[in-house]
Symmetry: D2
Subunit: 304 residues, 4 copies
Amino acid sequence: MIDFQGIIEDIHEDLKNDINRGLVASYIPELFNIDTQNFGIHVKHINGNSYAVGDWSIPFSIQSISKALSLSLVLPIYKDAIWERMDVEPSGNPFNHLSLLELENSIPRNPFINAGAIVIADMMVSHFKNPKQVFLDYVRELSNDQTINFNYNVAKSERLTGFGNYAAANLLKAYNNLENDVDEVLDFYFHQCAIEMTCEQLSNAFFMLANHGKCLQQKERLTQSQAKRINAIMLTCGFYDEAGEFAFEVGLPGKSGVGGGIIALLPNHFTITTWSPGLNEKGNSLIGMKALELFTTKTNLSIF
Amino acid sequence: MIDFQGIIEDIHEDLKNDINRGLVASYIPELFNIDTQNFGIHVKHINGNSYAVGDWSIPFSIQSISKALSLSLVLPIYKDAIWERMDVEPSGNPFNHLSLLELENSIPRNPFINAGAIVIADMMVSHFKNPKQVFLDYVRELSNDQTINFNYNVAKSERLTGFGNYAAANLLKAYNNLENDVDEVLDFYFHQCAIEMTCEQLSNAFFMLANHGKCLQQKERLTQSQAKRINAIMLTCGFYDEAGEFAFEVGLPGKSGVGGGIIALLPNHFTITTWSPGLNEKGNSLIGMKALELFTTKTNLSIF
Amino acid sequence: MIDFQGIIEDIHEDLKNDINRGLVASYIPELFNIDTQNFGIHVKHINGNSYAVGDWSIPFSIQSISKALSLSLVLPIYKDAIWERMDVEPSGNPFNHLSLLELENSIPRNPFINAGAIVIADMMVSHFKNPKQVFLDYVRELSNDQTINFNYNVAKSERLTGFGNYAAANLLKAYNNLENDVDEVLDFYFHQCAIEMTCEQLSNAFFMLANHGKCLQQKERLTQSQAKRINAIMLTCGFYDEAGEFAFEVGLPGKSGVGGGIIALLPNHFTITTWSPGLNEKGNSLIGMKALELFTTKTNLSIF
Amino acid sequence: MIDFQGIIEDIHEDLKNDINRGLVASYIPELFNIDTQNFGIHVKHINGNSYAVGDWSIPFSIQSISKALSLSLVLPIYKDAIWERMDVEPSGNPFNHLSLLELENSIPRNPFINAGAIVIADMMVSHFKNPKQVFLDYVRELSNDQTINFNYNVAKSERLTGFGNYAAANLLKAYNNLENDVDEVLDFYFHQCAIEMTCEQLSNAFFMLANHGKCLQQKERLTQSQAKRINAIMLTCGFYDEAGEFAFEVGLPGKSGVGGGIIALLPNHFTITTWSPGLNEKGNSLIGMKALELFTTKTNLSIF
């Protein structure tokens, strides 16, 4: 029997002195002003047990982690029609690059680069009258926690500074890969990214991906095949242009965000969420990456 | 003594049967509905003589030709500070590509790719309270014709469909190479491109570039050095990714627009404007290119 | 208990009528003249059991599958020093493209694009007096079969037509990422790719990667961590620019070759080799890809 | 009447103190060991007069300047068939980049990037039994000087270190845009670049391009149209990715080489050659560029 609690406490102890070494995202004040001392880990085992250490109960901006959640919401609705508008290949490029998008006629490489996530957001806007509320309700249900909410200041700041996303959305529109108005789609997208969740809430929300599609309440949210596919995309594309490195060092499907959060999981076993706001040069949490590497080494649990 | 009138009449006769072979720009209805039968040539000699044939007195949408005019307005104001925000190298890429722009940190390759022209437009918006009126007055003075005006429907259609330009402007903004609001800059830019002029008006407006900077009224608009530099940029960058071909086949500095117009000039000798709406696959007037090639061959006048 | 033998027989039956739909590699006569009717599957279970159907005992050219074997030979020798000369990120580009290589100063994206495999070959040449014999002995030992050999005609044909590889090797040399002579390194590389093996021999040779580093004879060839890392690279980079698709559809680490072979594996469970020479447009065996997709669907065994 | 002798003496005086500021090409010892103090200018007027100052009579390695000479030799033979194997557009990229070449299916952008010049060399090898002797004889005739010769040590050093050129040639071969053996073509190419000439000899050799195709001895080497076309290519592509800058600052067709030489010309007026081994970061002679800029400013002679 693996002592999960002991292991994450050891990791927390080992790494907490390195917390200040990364750089916090600086493009909006709400992220820049986060206390870099925050460091939390939360594990949700498939058998229902929870293990946690540090600042696992403080909400933070989930940012790009939301892309995996919006994909999981849209996939059962649009099914394979999604893949007519984007691909599932790693991008091999930093996350904000438009170059490949243009060269490839506005077919985003995968649903986790910004352009791909914007197309997913476009599907949300096309399919739902009130996509923001639908998405928020979905995340609350998955996490079994009605307190989860948007940080409207973050959404507003993203809107005021998100020129790269406006560029991407307009490029998609220019190539007929965006059905709705650029402003309407991005309004949803910026709110989706601006949800705040704790490590615990994220571990719970992603439980379905470790549990063959069934969420915490054992309700089938995804077919087994859909869960498997999202996991595959998380492994190959979940960490910007550091996806190969993460698969290599950690060996788990996962998704990171510039708010400093990382969610990872081992099918049939557990989900794990780490939060530490300091980022490495690729935009992934520096301490979170190390914590997950230590976790798979110490538990000897990885997909490989 | 060269018989300019005879030469352009011969060229007009030779080519008029090929008029229908190109394709008219189709992205906005105002351009798409142009009668492809239009074909005009107008030559303005440095000695004041004019020669004309065909539809030289019908106004058409000058589109990208306006980029050379806005550069000529901004250059005496901003001088070399312009080149801190863009380069003077050929792009080697189609005119709407954002890739290079992103790879090169939003320093546009030259003032004639859309992104470069948008930066010039940004300078207009920064420097003038009413840039649209200033630009229109400037063009009217150069052409000595107060009837020149914007086609507001064209400007509106460009705004409604110009997603590629919105993408470029937002990308410039993301990299801090745009001082003003994206919408404000593009509003000016779309009007600048939507001016309508005749072949004669264009030949007159560009007279200063063949005349060492002095316009039709012999007023110094540009220093000799500035005129020379704009000519150099027109030669190397004036025809999208067909600039080398134009230099090779025609051998004159020039600028084309998707409205089917081409202005070209030989310093100390003449300006020449052709108009035929059918475009080749690179977006340059098919018949216009041929007419200019014939013109330099028959007159034996080129810079090379 | 899963009926592996029944499952692969069903798959073989289901797919054998589609055998002729792919295209055989045509760049060298030895590959072009392969009988496309060949179709074999071989499974080696971690418990020692074997299951096989069709042409599993006919040797074929392993081609790029050899890249995983050479990496496994070099990794315990050079250890992390390997990653100073190449990366572990997916390339996001077709397998023969030099562009990224040049843009990234000759640091190949991963050990499975040709340029990366050539750097691994360079390490072999630097470290061993007779790298060809060392490599052959290694493969024979892993497979427990001394009959395995090079096809010298294939190696010779590759040398006479491998201009793309010469281009890559010279580019590496130009950027100081090749220690030995281009010709010497490529001579080894072409032989490495020209080894012929059966499905059974490949399933046996890759056994160590499903068995935490211990080969068929239970000798430790790789540390557990090294085996895990090679698996991670196979998952993210093993199928040219179709790696994401393979992870998505199949969900196993694996490696393909233009000879029509594919090896895949599930750690702790099995290795599986398929062979069908007809390729899809990405250069992977068309029927092999489908067979593996059916296999993971029917057995419900994948890493996700 | 312009005082050419006085002007170039002034320029020489003005710039000689800046001679040491550039960096000498360091990839082969023969170029690296050049005395950076060398600085020569030579003007050949269309009327037959010559003007010279400084080290105009010392031979130096012409390097890429030879590309314009080989093009002028091949053009009358292959005529427009040349343009089926390469284009005439500026590359917009540094001179040794293979990326565009690969993306564009091995059609070099123009005859002055290395890949394009290698295709021209391939034509020489296809058409002549002894292309090296033919080329040397051609250059000697143009310059009216039988003392011109290869520097065999330079050719040998280029061969031993020219991995980038081997990469380009192999890539061309891979895409069927090279008829002969890579080694044979590059042997010619390295010798072509290794010719040594003085400023005077270069001014004389390029006389035909300023004289409508007729060489110093008034023999027609090129048709007027062919001369015009080579001039057009020199203007748009003659200075690596600084061609736009050169057109902008100098305004003359020209060609530079990493040996520190630059040849430029004004049709109907003159050829001018400068030599100063220190290079700027783009690989063009730092002092040579400045000297030519001063020359066109002081004489007020440029094509624009």
